[in-house]
């Protein structure tokens, strides 16, 4: 029996991707938890930015808004949205973490609407917020989402946020800053990256207890396989302890 749940696995797998000393633009929820966990484990010098203006805060508690007081608690600077977005545009932000209602094989995201008619959508979601900006301007975009075929779809109803667009070199041709793009997709089952030429999503690591077929089953498009598919190391005792006791002690996300 597993001693951790889906959300815990996802947050821990995501945290591991963040290099020490790098910069990461994050939102609330799971991405923020991953950044906090990284800081408290292997990446104490991870620099966190929040889009509303918080620059390098000390995160003692999980923010409920990307602009609440916790996002600039003991920060280096409580600045402006422009300050943070400009930092991304200048090329000084390494990572961003996003979510979305739908994702396609090229890592494009939809957080705007479900339906055909933009004037009268079937379901309206919040929209881009800063997601499109972060995915356009930060070097590496990471996405955290539950592996679910209703989310991993053949075709998005609306491309809110750019991934590799139509694959190949279409992203670079669009004018988006050179060298940027989706880097990792982290679900509760696997970690995916993108095949370098076609830019199609491919599985590079499977979490304990899941096979490639399990992942493909919960994906609405055909996934590629990396030449070597790794086994994601299972959550460590100390990772779990820190996540549960220090990052999300009230269980907002991990539900304990």
């Amino acid at each position: 029996m597993k001693t951790y749940n889906h959300m815990e696995m996802m947050i821990i797998a995501a945290a591991r991707e963040l290099e020490n000393g790098s910069t990461a633009a994050v939102g609330t929820g799971a991405p923020c938890a991953a950044a906090m966990l990284a800081q408290k484990t292997h990446a104490p010098d991870l620099i966190i930015l929040f889009e509303a203006g918080g620059i390098s805060p000390r995160l003692v508690d999980m923010p409920i808004s990307v602009g609440d007081s916790r996002t600039f608690h003991q920060a280096s600077k409580a600045g402006t949205m422009g300050d943070v977005m400009d930092a991304c545009a200048r090329g000084t932000v390494d990572y961003t973490f996003l979510g979305g209602a739908q994702i396609d094989r090229y890592g494009n995201l939809n957080s705007t609407m479900i339906g055909r008619d933009h004037k009268k959508p079937k379901v309206r979601f919040p929209g881009s917020g800063g997601a499109n900006d972060f995915a356009s301007l930060c070097w590496r975009t990471m996405v955290m989402t539950v592996q679910d075929k209703r989310r991993f779809v053949e075709k998005l109803d609306f491309i809110t946020t750019p991934g590799w667009l139509d694959g190949g070199n279409s992203r670079e041709q669009s004018g988006l800053p050179r060298g940027t793009g989706p880097y990792r997709i982290i679900t509760h089952m696997a970690v995916m990256d993108f095949e370098p030429v076609s830019k199609r999503m491919r599985v590079i690591s499977l979490h304990p207890g899941y096979s490639f077929d399990d992942v493909q089953e919960e994906c609405g498009f055909e996934l590629l396989r990396s030449e070597i598919i790794l086994d994601t190391p299972k959550p460590g005792v100390s990772e779990l302890e820190i996540l549960r006791k220090e990052v999300d002690p009230r269980g907002y996300l991990i539900g304990r």
Binding site: T80, K119, P121, P126
Partner: protein, 334 residues
Amino acid sequence: MKAIDQSHGKLFMDPDPDHARKFFRKKNRKKMNKVMDLGQAIETFVLDGEYLAIGGFGSNRTPIAACHEIVRQGRKGMGFLGHTSTHDMQVLSAGEVYDRIDISYGVGLEARGLSRCSRAYLESGKVMVTEWTNYALTARLKAASMGIPFMPARTMLGTDTFKKSAAIQAICPFTNTTLALVPALYPDVAVIHVHEADIYGNARFKGIAVADIELAHASKRLIITTERLIRHDEISRDPSMTQIPFLLVDAVCEVPYGAYPGGMPGEYFSDEDHLTDWLDAEKNDETFNAFIKKEIFGCRNHEDYLNLHGGRERMAALRAEECLLHKEFYREDV
């Protein structure tokens, strides 16, 4: 500069700086006493059919008292700037105050969930929607604040967000970079909530500024709601602290807890229980109508609303919540 790709969203506001200049030339810039009652400020400066912007970010330092007053006075047919608009949008949607929106983030209350009311309103077809991103909207306000017709940006490219915006793609004549040009946005009126302001409108706040400085400069009319009035000599003693100078301001309204049930950095935390009540009430139309009737129309002003939710005692608890989080503000040894 030739457009190489055009979007299909509606451009609601005129970005021409010469037209805006005509307005600003005539705007009263006198250093005069601008203190007035919030009701009077909304009545005078927030007009049916015009374009409204609300400061702050989500539920943080957002002039919710002003949003209630706008709904209470029955404003209709407005344009609205949904620049990460959460509870403020929920309130304004409840009043069906706007019928067109420039949106980057709305409908949601971030980690708290989605507002069924805002969502249904945007799904109803009653609202014209033009899409943007947070940065694009900041850049649009920045362009207006600088008196230029557009700002170049490297965002939105390649996406449907661009297609449903009113931006234009063009090629940089220096570097051949493909750019999204976003048009200047001059809102007719904005409301910004601050910690401190003097009677002339010189205003300052603590914590993140979001896009409020750009917004203050871009807006044709500006209402400041403030936690407290301070003496002008407090401002002039250290003018480096002033974020919004009096020249931009049309009205100053002292509204303690003016961001409630949202939070105010260093002052009080958001009332998460009451925000949950809002989300819960929306689940049923009838419940929600009764809720709005009680919460907005049943109150004469913000003080009534505060009293409805525990008054001084509840506010003290929210102050404690905010200040305990920031205990390092008060103790050196932590």
